[in-house]
């Protein structure tokens, strides 16, 4: 019996086609940036070329990188706009601080305390992500965004009335006002005053490990059955359902993993400062992380890493503008957004680059396939 094998697709038909995502390349670039940056900065620090100001930002930069990468899981890979990432960061930070204080009563080995606290922070944040995730998964687009914003605010509001502390060595908590009979030094979390007396344990190396871990998890997830399912649902929800993908399950998965990673990052952030107030985790922080993601290119992991680093350092370098610092930052933000996304500027820049690289074939991206298809018919 003769095989009826279909004719192969003509090569010519692929001249406008675009190659897909190269996971290995993406991973290599991401890890190289992280490790290379770490080594470079360590050398510069050892050589005394890095000032206090930049040194002090190492840990926050790492935290923001992790946050940007984890938010990318929701915004870029799952395709949902989340405006409440700081909420998960808050849950992770405060539960991590709480755990570290409890552990400090019986342990003194800091790396172990840090790791357990971070895992606990991740766990609590993922629980929060799960609780938040369930109701919102039926929502779409901007409605989902507003609900994440609302949850972020609820978490912060709730932190304002939450009190934790030791009374006679026992952990006690209360809502509103104060815990009966507590000594000032035994307070852990005091409502709006936040967490005080935290023992700072974070360091640049821990920050790097956190970043590597986050990138590892997110990139691996992206290139796995689950990640493909999440991206499929982003690209076409109805088609995803038609091939049997459980939309809610995978959206929830992306949301919970992202929350857990944000919780971990939040915990490291919390353990980098001796005090932490709930106001820190307001809408502005969520937006800040979103800015990293968008500026780095939605879905682009290493772009997010670079954007987070630059935008954390940028306001600090603008200190020389004194009173005009934040104004300058705002203007730069607007200009960079227009410069990166405006179609006219984009194509002009591309044309400019094409001149430098005459040998490389220009592919004009996705030409409207569907139109040409219909014309043929």
């Amino acid at each position: 019996m003769a095989e009826r094998i279909l004719k192969n697709i003509r090569i010519g038909g692929l001249k406008n086609a675009v190659k897909g995502n190269d996971y290995r390349k993406e991973a290599t670039i991401s890890y190289c940036i992280l490790i290379g940056g770490y080594i470079l900065l360590q050398i510069l620090t050892a050589a005394g070329l890095v000032g206090h100001n930049l040194q002090g930002q190492f840990v926050p930069i790492c935290v923001y990188i992790s946050l940007a990468v984890s938010l990318n899981l929701v915004v870029g890979i799952s395709g949902e706009l989340s405006l409440g990432h700081a909420g998960f960061m808050a849950v992770g930070a405060f539960s991590g601080i709480l755990m570290s204080r409890i552990l400090l009563q019986s342990m003194s080995f800091e790396p172990a305390i840090l790791i357990i606290s971070m895992l606990f922070g991740a766990l609590m944040a993922s629980v929060a992500g799960f609780i938040i995730g369930i109701p919102i998964l039926g929502l779409r687009g901007d409605y989902l965004a507003i609900v994440t914003l609302a949850f972020g605010e609820i978490i912060r509001n709730f932190m304002n009335v939450l009190y934790f502390g030791f009374v006679d060595g026992k952990l006690r908590f209360a809502f509103n006002h104060t815990i009966e009979g507590i000594e000032d030094t035994d307070r852990i979390i005091t409502g709006a005053i936040g967490a005080t007396g935290t023992k700072t344990m974070a360091s640049f190396t821990w920050g790097l490990l956190l970043c590597l871990f986050t990138v590892f998890i997110v990139l691996n997830l992206k290139n796995s059955k689950q990640g493909r399912a999440i991206m499929s649902i982003r690209d076409n929800r109805i088609a995803g359902e038609s091939i049997g993908l459980d939309v809610r399950k995978y959206k929830l998965m992306a949301f919970v993993v992202s929350a857990a990673l944000a919780g971990m990052a939040g915990c490291l952030f919390g353990l980098n400062y001796s005090t932490l107030v709930p106001v820190k985790f307001n809408f502005n922080t969520s937006v800040l992380v979103l800015v990293f993601v968008v500026l780095g290119g939605v879905g682009n992991i290493w772009g997010g890493i670079i954007a987070a680093t630059l935008l954390t350092i940028l306001p600090e370098t603008f200190r020389q503008f004194a009173d005009y610092r934040m104004l300058t930052y705002a203007i730069v933000l607007i200009l960079v957004m227009i410069g990166t996304y405006n179609p006219a500027i984009k194509s002009r820049m591309n044309a400019l680059f094409a001149k430098f690289k005459p040998k490389k074939k220009k592919d004009d991206g996705k030409v409207k396939k569907k139109k040409s298809g219909k014309e043929e018919a």
Binding site: L81, I146, A150, N157, V161, I338
Partner: protein
């Protein structure tokens, strides 16, 4: 009686939210973007009106008019310079730009008018509050006028959108940008007009809000902006009556939860109500159901 007092202050607060939310909802309807700088336009409107009355010696109402004109121009300028270059590049890029604009407005206000708060003189300063039921029930002129203004704006806007040519063009653009263009509608003009109306309303909202809650600072617009955005989503973003209903309900929930449940958690309660509403009606109270063609 306390109930009635709370209801009235809830309605009044809700009316402020509603007027701000109208700006959000119209802009969203036409350009599908969340204009997070809207709250800061309110603040600018407040400062303009303040300056006109305090330094230029203008009458409050005249100052309101000037503030409206300035905010309208501001709205159009923002749209032209910051949002138009990004049209058609996806809502995220514009969202971030809007946040950039918001920072910009706040910081420029800080530089010009300083960090010290100003006390806004109420537009209805000469009028006396109405006391009824042996002083148990108090109705301030601000409440009355805010609620009235909300109703009038609502009616005018509905008429504008449904009866006038420009309004119909706006609706056409918000339905289908490309098709509207093919029908010969000037899309740029329609969008500019929307921003103009939204920003003009922001000035009104700012003056009304500051008449009732008079502290004016560079960050004055931030929280009402977020609340109004919530209100717009509550009612179904893109829907004009939805914005009004959403605003009113939000105001009432906020005041009632403060009065009867907890002042500490009132914001959390407001947001929790929003979530519950969206669970029952995923596109808000009056929002259009999104149906995808299969």
């Amino acid at each position: 009686m306390i109930f009635l007092t709370n209801l009235i202050s809830g309605l009044s607060l809700g009316s402020v939210y509603a007027i701000i939310a109208l700006g959000y909802t119209m802009v969203y309807g036409i350009s599908k973007m969340l204009n997070f700088a809207h709250g800061d336009v309110i603040m600018i409107g407040g400062y303009m009106s303040f300056i006109m009355t305090m330094y230029m010696g203008l009458n409050g109402w005249l100052a309101l008019l000037v503030a409206m004109v300035i905010c309208t121009i501001l709205g159009i300028t923002i749209e032209r310079l910051a949002y138009r270059p990004l049209r058609g590049t996806g809502s995220l890029a514009v969202l971030i730009t809007a946040i950039g604009v918001s920072y910009f407005l706040q910081n420029i206000a800080l530089l010009i008018w300083g960090a010290n708060p100003k006390m806004f003189t109420s537009l209805f300063n000469g009028m006396k509050p109405i006391h009824a039921m042996d002083g148990q029930l108090t109705i301030t002129p601000e409440s009355i006028f805010t609620i009235l203004a909300n109703i009038i704006i609502m009616i005018l806007l509905t008429l504008f959108v449904s009866k006038t040519k420009a309004g119909k063009a706006m609706r056409a653009v918000s339905e289908d940008n490309g098709a509207a263009q093919l029908m010969g509608i000037n899309v740029n003009q329609s969008i500019s007009l929307t921003f103009a109306i939204g920003s003009g309303l922001a000035a009104v909202a700012g003056v009304l809000m500051l008449s009732a809650y008079p502290v004016l600072m560079p960050t004055t617009g931030a929280m009402p902006g977020i609340k109004a955005f919530t209100a717009a989503v509550f009612g179904g973003i893109g829907s004009i009556p939805g914005a009004m209903i959403g605003g009113l309900i939000l105001g009432i929930i906020e005041i009632f939860s403060r009065a009867y449940i907890s002042t500490e958690l009132s914001d959390a309660i407001v947001f929790a109500c929003l979530i519950i509403v969206l669970l029952v009606k995923p596109t808000g109270l009056l929002g259009k159901k999104i149906s995808e063609k299969v």
